[in-house]
Symmetry: C2
DNA sequence: AAGTGGTCTAGACCACGCA
DNA sequence: GCGTGGTCTAGACCACTTG
């Protein structure tokens, strides 16, 4: 008469809670609607607030919820598709105006960047900061590292503003013939400055896209772009410009 | 003489802790080395275990640490680069043997998949499960959805095993002329079955790569691949086969 | 001022890997 | 059986937004 273990693997509470909430979001809530506060929700489900929060964190990670301190928890819209790779390779910010130059500095790059650029560690590079807005909200912050050798004709530029200097550097860069590019995507957490620009808290999950631009037989520029992981789906369109249509969610049961 | 607020924005403890630990990892630890257990670490830094864990979670998210229940916390090797997009588009598993077929079923697809395939909801599709191994450890689990119309000649196949049937379906698929493909990357959390295959706990952060394959003027196949976000950096090589060199090291040993 | 989510604590017990 | 990380609790206080 041992204790018959019908549930050999008891599901964690927060996991079950996440499932229940997820189904409730699909059926009983609409995008933008605010949920009851965490203390009420925890009481309603009979768990500690920390446990409830563990479930909410997961749902926020999956882009289902959006939480803002002092405001509340709201149902997030489906992730927006953001194009980060095109079939025809282009220099940064050639055609589309999705990226907005913020400022521009001339400084020594981090060690990792210097390695990728195959340049000396103490060789100063142009660092252009840009921010990307989509559907009215910030989705990415970028640091563009451009060795001085890639844009030699910058001695006689007028600089009415930081942004203007950034645009001048980009204009010069586009005179080179782009031979190729490649990108890498990895998970990261937002640094303090990126977080501020993305309207998130430091440490928020982000997708880091590192892109190398090749010209004249070497790496002519390096872009490190930080995308909000909760609101963005990065699209790499190889052929047409078609969009992937998503149901309520991607991962199915 | 009011309380002079020199630190107008007090940094959260776990954030500071993460920074300290991160620097310690760089200078005082080697890859594979095991850290002191959480209770000792928490005591050493004078914080509660929950706070210490918050810092460790972030470091694990960034791929700096690896934690395993019953074992301990170890210093993780640099993320491995995993190629997920090539310049020349290829059918799944054409050249490389990185993907291993696991099994194959014929069933109705989830609603989201049916939408992407532009097929009827109740139209059964082949569902091929594959797993990808790199450097000796599992990095991705995939579900490949293939409408029956894409592989018509499957009535007379012999099926000595599940994996063999999967290979037969893939072989048939490759007879079609691939016209294009596009991919999307987004953050997700591992479902229970994926987690098992990836040797992670359910809910672990993953990078979900959704790829559509076009042939004969329609979507001929849809792949949903789930990559370990902690160990993988997804590379999209547009031109040459060059690898991005990152920080101190490129790949694990 | 009130209400929200974010941080933090000091415990407890559980599931797992290993010797 | 022991030590590990994983889960969970019931509180407390803080930072932020809004009326």
């Amino acid at each position: 008469m041992g204790t018959t273990q019908l549930e050999s693997v008891p599901e964690p509470k927060y996991w079950h809670l996440k499932t229940v909430l997820s189904e409730a979001l699909d059926s009983e809530f609409t995008v933008g609607e605010i949920l009851p506060n965490e203390r009420d929700l925890a009481a309603r489900f009979g768990v500690a607030r920390a446990t409830l929060r563990q479930a909410l964190e997961q749902l926020e990670l999956e882009g289902r919820l959006q939480r803002r301190r002092g405001v509340g928890t709201t149902v997030a819209p489906p992730r927006m598709g953001v194009a980060v790779g095109t079939g025809r390779q282009v220099w940064p910010s050639t055609g589309d105006d999705a990226w907005q130059p913020v400022d521009c500095a001339l400084a020594a790059p981090p060690a990792a960047v210097a390695t990728a650029l195959e340049s000396a560690r103490d060789q100063a590079v142009h660092i252009v900061r840009r921010s990307r807005v989509s559907h009215g909200q910030p989705v990415a912050a970028e640091l563009l590292y451009i060795p001085s050798t890639s844009v030699p004709d910058l001695s006689a530029i007028d600089a009415p503003s930081e942004a203007a200097r950034a645009r001048a550097v980009l204009r010069e860069l586009q005179r080179l013939e782009l031979q190729g590019q490649d990108s890498a995507v990895e998970l990261g957490s937002a640094r303090a400055d990126d977080a501020r620009e993305l309207d998130r808290l430091p440490g928020a999950p982000v997708l880091v896209v590192t892109t190398r631009f090749f010209a004249e037989g070497r790496t002519a520029a390096l872009s490190v772009a930080t995308y909000r992981a909760d609101t963005c789906r990065l699209t790499f369109t190889a052929s047409g410009g078609v969009e992937i249509h998503h149901g309520p969610q991607q991962q199915a049961s």
